[in-house]
Amino acid sequence: MRFTIEQRPEPSAVMRVVAPVAAIALTLVVGAGLFAALGHNPVAMLDAFFIAPLNSLNGLSELLLKASPLILIACGLAVGFRANVWNIGAEGQLIMGAIAATGVGLFYPNPDSVLLLPLMFLAGMAAGMAWAAIPAFLRARMNTSEILVTLMLTYVATLFLSWLVHGPWRDPAGFNYPQTAMLPPYALFAPFDDAYRVNHSVFITAVAVVVMWIFTDRSFLGYKMAVAGAAPLAARYAGFRESAAIWIGLLAGGAAAGVAGMAEAAGPLGQLSPNVSPGYGFAAIIVAFVGRLNAFGIVLAGLLMSLLFLGGETVQVSLGLPSALTRVFQGVLLFFLLAADFFIFYRIRRVGGQN
């Protein structure tokens, strides 16, 4: 008697649901083990990490506040990932979006214009797209790996931001902190309630989710992108242009990340500082995968990932644990999810007899 692994004739529908649940459960088990190893009571820690943040209205507000950029960026990235276009530099595109939007907000001649916020939106989107257009051009025309280019450009964007806030854009009245002046009121998203930080920019994310769903599930262009991702030779056979998939894939991610950056600057931050993103651009990659590159999944994954960020902050503040725990959890979750996916497509079967 022995076991073999074999491909299922059809992917398992049951496993499609069970796999992510199992992955989350296993992540919790590993987390509990990790806490125990660090000398903490695992149950209390898991409670502090995953339950406590949700126990208050403020917690929910923060959950939405952090989930919104994650979901927004993941939607954009997923459009590319579906077509095997690997934009992993959303962090850089987010930063460029934040820079452009803040620039408009600070230097637009009429700070009391109601057009200010829409203009910042457009500037953020355009800057994110422009930053993503570089790898798109290089991949489509020069055959250059977009993975490496988007990543290198993230470092460049980070350094550019650092230069701006340490140099030309530094707030002269800011006690030498590396940050810009605060944005004028008309350059900010209004919060739903002054007691909480979550603001109207979540509507942008909501629209993005719907648009992404229609694009990937209903539109012919989305279908073509899916073919390009699943079987590039079939796309060429059908006459779907590869360069179109590359451009759309990268620009969608760039636009989403740019807008997310704008919404950070014009939302909770109200200004530009070196920490405009706590790693949303990278975490959104995980969100996109955990969400299986589809709109509904991304919403759930974004909320979960946001909870990881919140939990990390909570245990950092209350127990002095490093915030890097969040990234460890993110990594572990993604590991388990990728491994669990295997069982959607394969099964383990017992075979009898010799040989």
Binding site: P9, E10, P11, Y223, V227, A234, Y237, G352, Q354, N355
Partner: protein, 513 residues
């Protein structure tokens, strides 16, 4: 005498298919034993089980009377069982001798091994330069490398899986001489084929296969072809109806002076190719694979563009610059050689795969997919072409090769093409489906469409084509009328349009260097 190899009650199942069902056979030392069966009968699986590359679910294998436990290719080689694959297991990027070094157990010394290879190649009349990179070799030469690799091990049993499907008729005779020489030296040979005439010429015994089961054992030299065919196919196949062609006045496809460098480093350059295909006829392009077919086909289909748009004219209109979508609009439909990954997206449903080229038939409106229409389109194909599937939501990869091919052919014919381009129409397709597909192509042409078939199966081309062209080393022969030519002539053209190669070196396997 103790059999060299004995199989007892071998069974192997794959999800949805029984590849081998209770198979038993035995081979004596020095015997040339045929395993005869149609494509998809389970022969290749059985050979892989014998070699240990695939594990049987149940059953026993005995070598020289001793049962083999925990089988794998290394065990086989230790026992003296060697295998020449149908699609060679050679590595393109390394040299002949390095390829051979990978499967011998002697200490790693390429110089010494090269000398041994040369020696052996002379003894069996299969000249080869050990230092050459495999990607520069012709298919025939590659097969020589495979056989030499096996011979270096002094095999007691040599397995050959459809060895002649890539060879010219002349090269086949040459191969048979080598095999007879080997058998005379005591080596057993297991010869897998679906070609009756070859088995009758070469083999002492034949085990006949159908649908994964043994349907009989025979002495092929004393058995009639009809008898063997009956065991192999079972029921009688529908006869092909090929009425005389009625070519149109103007050509549908005109190729003039088409030259193109290969895009792949392992590819073949095309040189000055010219030919026409008329509506109402079927034209076949014969040739050993790797002689420029892949390049020609991708230039015709528009997967690759050509800077001189006049070199390719479709319906009289210069089309070289049109991509695959543009060509389809001009009236082309195309069935590629690779079904999974090119003609169809493996992980997509049949509905989505219908959309791949069928989207132009009204299932996309205002940029949105009309899912009902798309489903209807694919359902029509499944019904009309008798595609066996669990419905149109089934993934393309869940279909058997033959059924997926019927689906793709059906989809392309649904586009009502003025010119249908088909590459290897029946490769790996079971007999029934193959006959159906061939009849479909004939019917399409007789209804007025131009049909161009690229195939390595000479039998197939002679069965349905009205005219034949032969491609060799990126060049195309003159047009041959099917009824006025024969295999001999086509075979010579396949070896390089140049009889001197055969006459000078006695080297009929050398197709081109």
């Amino acid at each position: 005498m103790i059999p060299r190899l004995e199989l007892r009650n071998i069974c192997k199942r794959y999800p949805g298919v029984v590849a081998n069902d209770d198979v038993s056979l035995s081979i004596l030392p020095g015997e040339i034993h045929a395993v005869l069966g149609e494509n998809g009968a389970g022969k290749s699986t059985l050979m892989k089980i014998i070699y240990g590359a695939v594990q049987a679910d149940s059953g026993e294998i005995l070598c020289d009377g001793n049962p083999i436990h925990s089988h794998n290719p290394a065990v086989s080689r230790a026992l003296g069982i060697e295998m020449v694959y149908q699609h060679f297991a050679l590595f393109e990027s390394v040299s002949v001798v390095e390829n051979i070094a990978l499967s011998v157990t002697t200490p790693f010394n390429l110089a010494a091994l090269s000398r041994k290879v040369l020696e052996l190649s002379q003894r069996y009349g299969m000249p080869i330069d050990p230092a050459r990179l495999v990607h520069n070799l012709s298919v025939g030469e590659r097969q020589r490398v495979e056989i030499l690799r096996c011979l270096l091990q002094n095999p007691k049993l040599l397995i050959l899986d459809e060895p002649t499907s890539v060879l010219t008729p002349q090269a086949v005779l040459r191969l048979f001489d080598t095999l007879r020489q080997l058998a005379a030296e005591g080596c057993s040979i297991l010869y897998i084929s679906h070609k009756l005439d070859e088995v009758q010429t070469l083999c002492d015994t034949a085990t006949v296969f159908r649908n994964g089961r043994v349907t009989g054992t025979a002495r092929p030299k004393q058995t009639t072809a009809t008898e063997l065919a009956r065991m192999m196919v079972g029921s009688k196949l529908p006869e092909m109806h090929v009425s005389p062609p009625v070519p149109a006045e103007k050509p549908m496809l005109e190729i003039r002076g088409l030259s193109a460098a290969a895009t792949d480093i392992y590819g073949v350059d095309l040189a000055d190719i010219s030919f026409d295909v008329f509506g109402g006829e079927i034209v076949g392009i014969a040739g050993v694979s790797g002689n420029g077919q892949a390049e020609l086909v991708s230039l015709l289909s528009g997967e690759r563009l050509h800077p001189q748009s006049n070199a390719i004219r479709i319906g009289g209109i210069a089309s070289g610059h049109l991509d695959a979508d543009g060509r389809r609009r001009a009236g082309i439909a195309f069935v590629p050689e690779e079904r999974l990954g090119r003609g169809a997206v493996p992980a997509h449903s049949l509905i989505e795969n219908g959309l791949l080229t069928g989207h132009r038939l009204g299932s996309v409106r205002h940029g949105m997919v009309d899912r009902k229409r798309a489903a209807d389109f694919s359902r029509d194909i499944v019904e009309k072409f008798k595609v066996k599937t669990n419905g149109v939501r089934a993934k393309a990869q869940s279909l058997s090769g033959g059924n997926l091919q019927k689906f793709i052919v059906g989809r392309e014919i649904a586009l009502q093409p003025k010119l249908l381009l088909v590459s290897q129409p029946t490769w790996g397709v079971d007999v029934g489906a193959a006959a159906f597909i061939r009849q479909t192509l004939v019917d399409l042409s007789r209804a007025g469409a131009a049909v161009l078939i690229v195939s390595e199966e000479l039998d197939e081309l002679f069965e349905i084509c009205d005219r034949l062209l032969v491609i060799c080393n990126g060049r195309l022969s003159k047009s041959l009328i099917r009824t006025q030519t024969d295999r001999e002539e086509v075979g010579l053209l396949m070896t390089g349009l140049d009889g001197s190669v055969v006459a000078n070196g006695g080297d009929s396997l050398a197709l081109h260097d």
